[in-house]
Structures are given as C-alpha cells and as structure tokens.
C-alpha cells in the first residue's frame, strides 16, 4: 500500500489509512467521515432503497464467487414472512495466497462494522455475526475493541443513533477448517456442528442459520458499502476500468520483488500490478505461470498477463478472479511438486462428506507423487484428466473439489511436458499387442 497516494474519491476501502499502517480506531474513523453513511442511511433511506442502490452500484461479492451483492440482498428482502433473519460476515479467510481480509479486519474494523450496520438495516436484520478465522488473533483483538467502541458510541445495540433500528453484532471465532469459508458449511459451523456444506436449494436467503433467512457477505464486500452510500452509484462505476464496478484489493505474492496488496480499479491489467506495483520477478527468476486469485483458480501463463483483472475478463480466458490476490510461479518450480502441495492441501481440508471429494483428492495426490518419482505412465495423465472431470462443477456437494481440480486441469493444459516427464515411456515393443 506504500506507493499509492490515498484519497476518498479513488480509494474508498483504504483512504483512511495513515502512512504508517496501524488500526483506525473510532475517533479517527469518525474524523474521517466514519459512520456518516450509517447516519445518512437511517435518516434518508428506506431499506428497499438501499438494496436498489447496491444493485445499481454493480458491487459483486469479493469473497471469490463474484455474485452480485444487491441481488443476494434482494433474495432476502423478498422473503418477508419470517421475522427472524440474520446477517453474517464471512471472515474465514483461509484460501492459500490470500491476505486481503486480514488487512481490512486488523486495520479498518469500523469500516466493516459500518458496512454491516447498513446491510442489516437494508435486510431488516436484528442480529449479526462476524465469523472470524480462529488463527487471526490480532484481528480478533482489534474487532473486539472496535465492537465495544461502536456499542459504547451508540452505533450498535438498541435504537442505533436514536432511530427505531436495532442491530446486535457478535464476533464468533472458528477453530480451523478451510471448508468453513463455504457459506453453508459456515452456517453449520456457527450452529456448533461439523462444517459440512448443506445442499442448495434452499439457499441461505430462504433457510440459513437456524433455518431462518440469512445473508452472508465477505469482509471486503461489506467494507465497500459505506462509501457506496456516501458517494453514490455513478461515482462507484467511475472507479473501475471495466464493466465490473469499483475497486478491489489486488496484489502479487511469490518470488516477486515486492509482494503486497494494493487497492486498485477493477479492470487494471495483471501486467501492471505485476510489473508496476510488485516490481516483477526477483533478479534471477523468470515468470513461468501465475494464479490470479488464490489456490482454487486455474493457472495462467505469461501471455495472459495483459488480461484485465475483473470477473468477466478472467472467466473468458478460463480462470477466475477469485480473491484477486495473484501468485507468481518461477521457472525453477516443477509444476508437479507445486500441484502436490496444492492438492495435498485440498485433500486435507476436504470435509469428507461426499465421496468424490473425500476419495478423489487423495487419489490425485497419489498419482502426482507417482509422477514426481518418475514412476507414472501416460495413462496416469489420462486418469488425472478423468478425475478432474469427475470432480468438476456439479459433480460434488460443494465447490471445494471443483476449486481443487481447476489448477490441476490448467496445469495439464499448459505444462503437459512436465507431466510426461514423470512417466516411464515404454519402448514400442513393450506395449500390449492385443490392444
């Protein structure tokens, strides 16, 4: 964040930060237009107007899936019959290669709280939870302080800012499982159960926490809400350089000169982030491949660096924006070894609920290890492709396995020779003559 001059018009998420990055507590937050969006909301808007504003802003979920936030909220608002309803912030950031929510949670906790108050008002919600990853101890400490500051200042609790609206927000910490980031698994975990995903439909907007309508948004998504309320849709659209609106925390990690994250307009090219902000590869290293947004996104190669970092452009070239935090892989890394690391992670973190994921992912690891030892065969590569198909979207209970096999599929596509190098290529006369 060091080389960008921050201001509210261009950096709605991060402009409040000081040059030495440290948490922004309530006094400083209020001085810097903090909680003004809550006051504006309570004074000037009806809940449905807020939802329409968010729909028109074009804000898409920043947790990875990129589902339009306003549309998600609208699903909740259509369900008016049930009295109890909940809002949950998904702060269970465990995607390898991703470190954006931790940054917002630790340094700008009030921005998230303000976003949640507005969301709760729009959705007519009285109770909310921040589901925080258990390992984020600093974020836990800072959020607890911010929650108590907000409560003491009348922004949380009964009759917020002397209005008729009440909202109670609690911090819930997880106990370490990647699958908790999946929204229905998160609900199960919050209910005190194993974090097994639930079958959809019904979607959480109809039947979520304790069977009641529930809306789940990511930290970065909710942190965008206050500025949308303050500055409006036209401004939010103008921030972006693509059809997807707003800014996004984007960055590069791996063996680049300056790993980090920056708040940048959606639609900026990956090359600009890689070369201008991250300074390119460290001396002596050459870029071989990159993942645009976390461990579950497909690999891309050098020629894709000119792609716009937004939801649509990355989908068009066969990957996903995901969490937007890219990872650079250099030519010294063997893709099989890298995939063993990735797939071991996904196999370990499978909740074990559905068979394709539970059995398929360890099988993938086993084959990859065989290829690493150069004991594989060409049939193993074919088998990996088959397993990838059978663990693809719609074949498993949730998106864990499809996310796990998309880097594998893309690695076979771009680096097939490395897979073939792991095989014993039999001379022709050893082949079965009956085939």
């Amino acid at each position: 964040m060091k080389n960008i001059k921050l201001n509210p018009e261009t950096h709605p998420l991060t402009w409040r930060l000081n040059s030495v990055i440290s948490p922004i507590w309530i006094h400083e937050y209020i001085k810097k237009k903090g909680y003004q969006a809550v006051l504006k909301t309570l004074k000037n808007f009806e809940p449905n107007e807020i939802i329409q504003l968010v729909i028109q802003s074009g804000l898409k979920g920043r947790g990875g899936a990129g589902f339009p936030t306003g549309v998600k909220w609208n699903l909740m608002s259509n369900n008016k019959l049930k009295k109890s309803r909940y809002l949950i912030c998904n702060a269970d950031e465990m995607e390898p290669g991703t470190y954006k929510d931790r940054f917002l949670l630790e340094n700008l906790p009030h921005q998230l709280i303000e976003g949640m108050i507005i969301a709760a008002f729009a959705l007519n919600v009285k109770y909310g939870y921040i589901f925080l990853r258990g390992d984020y101890y600093t974020a836990e400490k800072n959020l607890n302080r911010a929650l108590s500051e907000a409560k003491n200042s009348g922004y949380l609790g009964d009759y917020i800012c002397k209005s008729n609206f009440s909202f109670h927000l609690f911090l819930h910490t997880g106990a370490g499982r990647y699958i908790c980031g999946e929204e229905t698994a998160l609900i199960n975990s919050l209910e005190g159960k194993r974090a097994n995903p639930r079958y959809k439909p019904p979607f959480p907007a109809i039947s979520g926490l304790w069977g009641k309508p529930t809306c789940i948004n990511n930290v970065e998504t909710l942190s965008n809400i206050p500025s949308i309320i303050l500055y409006g849709n036209t401004w939010y659209h103008s921030l972006s350089q693509s059809v997807d609106t707003g800014t996004k925390l984007l960055g590069f990690s791996g063996l680049v000169k300056k790993a980090g994250l920056w708040e940048l307009p959606l639609g900026i090219t990956a090359r600009e982030i890689f070369e201008k902000y991250s300074g390119g590869m460290r001396s002596g290293y050459i870029l071989k491949a990159w993942q645009p947004g976390g461990a579950g996104t497909s690999f891309l190669i050098n020629k894709h660096l000119d792609v716009k970092m937004d939801f649509i452009s990355l989908q068009e070239i066969g990957s996903r924006l995901g969490t937007g935090l890219s990872m650079a892989i250099d030519t010294s890394v063997n893709m099989i070894s890298l995939l063993i690391n990735l797939e071991t992670f996904f196999a370990r973190e499978s909740c074990g609920f559905c068979t394709p994921c539970r059995d398929g992912l360890p099988w993938v690891v086993k084959i990859l290890k065989k290829l690493e030892r150069k004991h594989g065969s060409l049939d193993d590569i074919k088998l990996l492709e088959e397993i990838s198909e059978n663990l693809g979207p719609g074949k498993t209970f949730c998106a864990h396995a499809p996310g796990a096999v998309s880097p594998l599929k893309s690695a076979i596509k771009y680096f097939r020779t490395e897979f073939e190098a792991g095989t014993i290529l039999f001379p022709k006369y050893f082949q079965n003559i009956l085939v």
Partner: protein, 156 residues
C-alpha cells in the same frame, strides 16, 4: 455433576448469550476449556455435553473435526508452520525440516518435556511476508532456517 471450574462456567454462560441455541456456543466452549486445560479429554467431552445439553457424540464429532481443538495432550507451545502454496514457493520445506531437526520430533508430535508440539497449518494470510510460523498466538514472518533455534528458545 459438573466439574468445570467457576471461571470456565462464567465464561461459558457469557458466550451462550450470543446464540439462540446453546449448541451454537460449542466451538467457543471447547476453546474456553482448552485454554484452561490444554486439551479436551474424554471426561471434558462429557462435561461439555452435559452443560450444553447435547450428546457427547456430537461434542466429540465437533472436537475431532477442527484443527485447533486437541483431543490428546499437547505441549505448552504449539508451533505451526504454514505449508500453503506461497510459503512453498518461499521455501517452507527447509523451515519444516529445520523445525523437525531442532525439536527432534515429527509432525503432530510433542517433545518429551511437553514444551513444544509441531503442526502444519493452512495459509496464515501473510503471503507477502513468507515463510511464516505461528507459535501460540504469535505470527512470525520472514522466517529463516538460522533463526529457528533462537525463535523457539523464547517460548518456555
């Protein structure tokens, strides 16, 4: 019947207020008990089941599912290294090797003096500063092999 101490009970009663049903506080309750006792014994599983009015099977199924809940005794200091993909690129394998060599234990094991337990962990969200270690609640970034004995020595 209940053998949880007063401090634990008061913490549990406080946390239960955050949820509509007592079971929802189960993970927090497991963490409270573990904070006080180091791990969750079979006896404690039954105690927690009693206090939350759920079955002990349910408590055990949750306690065994989450990586931060320990169902066997662990050391005073939990040493966890990030084994995710960016730390892989930044060389976590040498960190893992050095930790095993220094502590003279393998993954999931505890030193004989119960000073350390060594575990792997998912991405700790500090990919810009890898490789990363977490000892108890401390995040240690830019770890180098040579630093490991000195870092470990801080934790008694």
């Amino acid at each position: 019947m209940c053998k949880l101490n007063t401090k634990e009970l008061s913490q549990i009663n406080e946390i239960k207020k955050h949820y509509k049903y007592p079971q929802a506080s189960l993970i927090e309750v497991l963490k409270i008990v573990q904070e006080n006792r180091g791990w969750i014994s079979d006896f404690m599983v039954k105690e927690i089941a009693y206090i939350l009015d759920i079955s002990s099977c349910e408590v055990d199924s949750v306690a065994t599912f989450y990586s931060q809940i320990f169902r066997k005794p662990v050391g005073r200091n939990i040493v966890r290294y990030c084994d995710s993909v960016v730390c892989f690129l930044n060389g976590y394998l040498s960190i893992k090797k050095a930790l095993k060599k220094t502590l003279k234990i393998s993954l999931g094991q505890t030193t004989k003096d119960f000073r350390y337990t060594l575990l792997p962990t998912c991405c700790l969200g500090a990919c810009d500063q890898g490789p990363v270690l977490m000892i108890n609640k401390d995040l240690i970034c830019h770890v180098k092999v040579a630093m490991i004995p000195k870092i470990l020595d801080i934790y008694k």
